[in-house]
């Protein structure tokens, strides 16, 4: 992995700038040179000043810095369905990487449970020596996952999940970490807890509309809660999640979410008994995908529609829109 100084050196060279051209009365040639050679570390303020001198944004810089670390890139892939590297926000899931990898393998449930048992034993001893927040939450999630694979009741999940629900309810403004944690864990939560948390999250929705990573996570939260509430047959709560989804849509009117909303409305009408109108909306979505030559999206919606029509217990979708 490249050091911070090396990354800076490469970016400066790439723009054909000499040390002299970058230095000024705030920062000397000698200091920059030492930073590039890893002989000294820069203060954050001076570092930001240097970036401006070479026309590089902080996003640019850290993107490249992160890109030079094969481990960081690998970490992102662990959570992604199609092996694509994920945006930087997913770095925050790193503490849960091992656990999520166990849960998401193709192994049989019994094997997963035995892997989880081992993980729990280890985490318990970690927790003893380092009673940190992340260790507490790791343990809670692992125990809930075992419970889920053994198909015990949702009720016992509620107790097991307490460390996570308590943490989430104490954070005043959720950032990417809390949003992603909520999306990945809400399907295990007791529906009352989940919906209460959802309300809190939506009260801060204004914070999410400006940074696009967070805005998409806002949509993901609504979709995940919608599908969880449908599964729990709490149609009123499902409708509220759908309304919040539409509220996001009013602000940025993005086509991909508008079409998702149309499909969710169809789904909702269908399950509350208005099958004809519901199906019609879903089919409009299929047709739109066809007009736009988006055949992959079309077949995904088609599959979902078939599941809805077949009835029975729907798989819950904890979906993160990239």
């Amino acid at each position: 992995m490249q050091s911070l100084g090396q990354t800076f050196h490469q970016l400066r060279k790439n723009k054909n700038l000499t040390l002299k051209e970058v230095a000024d009365d705030e920062i000397s040639v000698a200091v920059i040179s030492k930073f590039e050679n890893d002989q000294t570390m820069l203060g954050v303020d001076r570092f930001l000043h240097l970036l401006r001198q070479i026309n590089v944004t902080t996003e640019d810089f850290f993107y490249r810095y992160r890109e030079s670390d094969p481990q960081a890139l690998q970490a992102g892939k662990k959570f992604s369905r199609n092996e694509m590297p994920l945006p930087e926000v997913f770095d925050v899931l790193e503490p849960f990487a091992e656990l999520l990898a166990i849960v998401n393998t193709d192994k049989k449930d019994i094997e997963k449970c035995s892997d989880l048992q081992k993980y729990i034993v280890r985490t318990k001893s970690d927790l003893k020596s380092a009673p940190t927040l992340n260790n507490r939450m790791r343990l809670a999630l692992a125990e809930t996952a075992i419970n889920e694979f053994q198909e015990k009741s949702f009720k016992s999940n509620h107790t097991l999940m307490l460390p996570i629900t308590e943490y989430l309810s104490n954070v005043s403004v959720w950032s990417a970490f809390e949003l992603i944690l909520f999306i990945t864990t809400s399907i295990f939560m007791d529906p009352d807890d989940a919906i209460q948390m959802f309300d809190r999250c939506m009260k801060q929705a204004a914070h999410y509309t400006r940074l696009s990573d967070l805005r998409y996570l806002g949509y993901s939260v609504c979709f995940t809660i919608f599908s969880a509430m449908v599964t729990h047959k709490r149609f009123g709560d499902a409708k509220r999640a759908l309304d919040e989804f539409d509220n996001f849509l009013k602000k940025d009117a993005e086509a991909q979410f508008a079409i998702k909303s149309l499909f969710m409305h169809g789904w909702y009408l269908y399950i509350i008994g208005n099958k004809e109108d519901g199906k019609e909306k879903c089919i409009t979505v299929l047709q739109l995908c066809h007009t736009l030559h988006l055949e992959d999206d079309r077949s995904e919606y088609q599959e979902l529609l078939e599941q809805i029509e077949a009835g029975g217990r729907m798989p819950m979708h904890a979906e993160i829109f990239g």
Binding site: N16, V44, T58, D60, S175, D297
Partner: protein
């Protein structure tokens, strides 16, 4: 804009974490506290460790700390479809674009830009930095354009073209600089830089604000090439757009609508009017069915304009794309 330390404290507190929970053997409570109070600065490496301790990313941190995203997205080239970045580095270019777009009459516009041109000429003479030379080139080309002198504009923009060619790995700054300069550069330069940018911009598909840049670049390059009646080059750009829209990892409805519209647009201006109209109208109907405005503000005026298009009137398309 709040200080680095203040922002850190707000983020830490919002997560309900105490100083003690954040400190470890690498960094003490006292050091963090001094940083938060502005009494001392942290080294960059320590600072990154601290962000990890509170589960925050660098993008998030700087999002809260700078007013970068608070900048009202400016409407570049009359489009509303683009999220324009509030990057400080690009401010001088925004200023010129606004002067070109905003004044009441054509003469008033030319006068305002010419005044800016003189100011930057003087500044460049005193401080001949790379940045000043590029801003000057940009101002010169803008003045040329206001006098419909396209050949001169493509000549005056050369310092920017040369700069872009000399930089090996492009960052945000270079990508936006190209997008802003598309109307000025000559068709050969445009095609070459476009290809280069598409390769470079690949790296940005997972950066929050930049992932759609490739689509924006295709749309803008396409509209400039069609405006200049270079249909073969425009077709190549459109092929790139199609590839992007249909790549599994990155497909996006909004740009599928744009691509459909662009096909219709190209058909209309190259003579297949009925087929083209059908495609444009299909694209626009998607937004009607979904009951959202989407890109209608961007596409509808272009559509109305294309319908009146007369291929013998060369100024017609350029006027719409640059001075609307």
């Amino acid at each position: 804009m709040s200080s680095l330390g203040q922002t850190f404290r707000e983020l830490r507190k919002s997560k309900g974490l105490t100083l003690k929970e954040v400190a470890d053997d690498q960094i003490s409570v006292a050091v963090i506290s001094k940083f938060e109070n502005g009494a001392s600065m942290l080294g960059l490496d320590r600072f990154l460790d601290l962000l990890n301790q509170i589960n925050a990313t660098t993008s998030e941190f700087f999002y809260w700390q700078t007013d970068r995203y608070a900048v009202k997205p400016s409407v570049v080239f009359g489009h509303s479809g683009h999220g324009a970045p509030g990057i400080k580095l690009l401010e001088p270019f925004y200023e010129i674009i606004e002067l070109v777009n905003q004044a009441e009459s054509k003469t008033a516009r030319a006068k305002a830009v010419e005044q800016y041109q003189q100011r930057i000429q003087k500044a460049t003479h005193e401080h001949p930095t790379q940045m000043n030379r590029q801003i000057l080139a940009y101002a010169n080309s803008s003045v040329d354009l206001l006098h419909y002198n396209l050949d001169q504009a493509s000549h005056d923009i050369l310092p920017v073209v040369h700069y872009l060619e000399s930089v090996d790995q492009w960052g945000e700054f270079e990508l936006f600089l190209l997008i802003f300069s598309l109307t000025f550069v000559d068709t050969d330069d445009l095609t070459r830089l476009f290809k280069r940018a598409m390769r470079r911009a690949d790296w940005y598909q997972w950066l929050a604000e930049e992932r759609y840049l490739r689509y924006n670049l295709c749309f803008d390059a396409f509209s400039v090439l069609v405006g200049k009646q270079h249909y073969d080059e425009a077709r190549l750009v459109l092929e790139q757009m199609d590839t992007l829209v249909h790549s599994k990892s990155d497909s996006d409805m909004q740009f599928a609508v744009q691509a459909l519209f662009m096909h219709g647009w190209l058909d209309i201006v190259t003579g297949a009017k009925e087929k083209g109209k059908q495609q444009c109208e299909n694209a626009l109907s998607v937004y009607r069915i979904l009951n959202v405005s989407g890109d209608e503000d961007l596409l509808r005026p272009i559509y109305d304009h294309i319908l009146k298009y007369d291929p013998s009137d060369k100024k017609h398309m350029m006027i719409m794309l640059t001075l609307d």
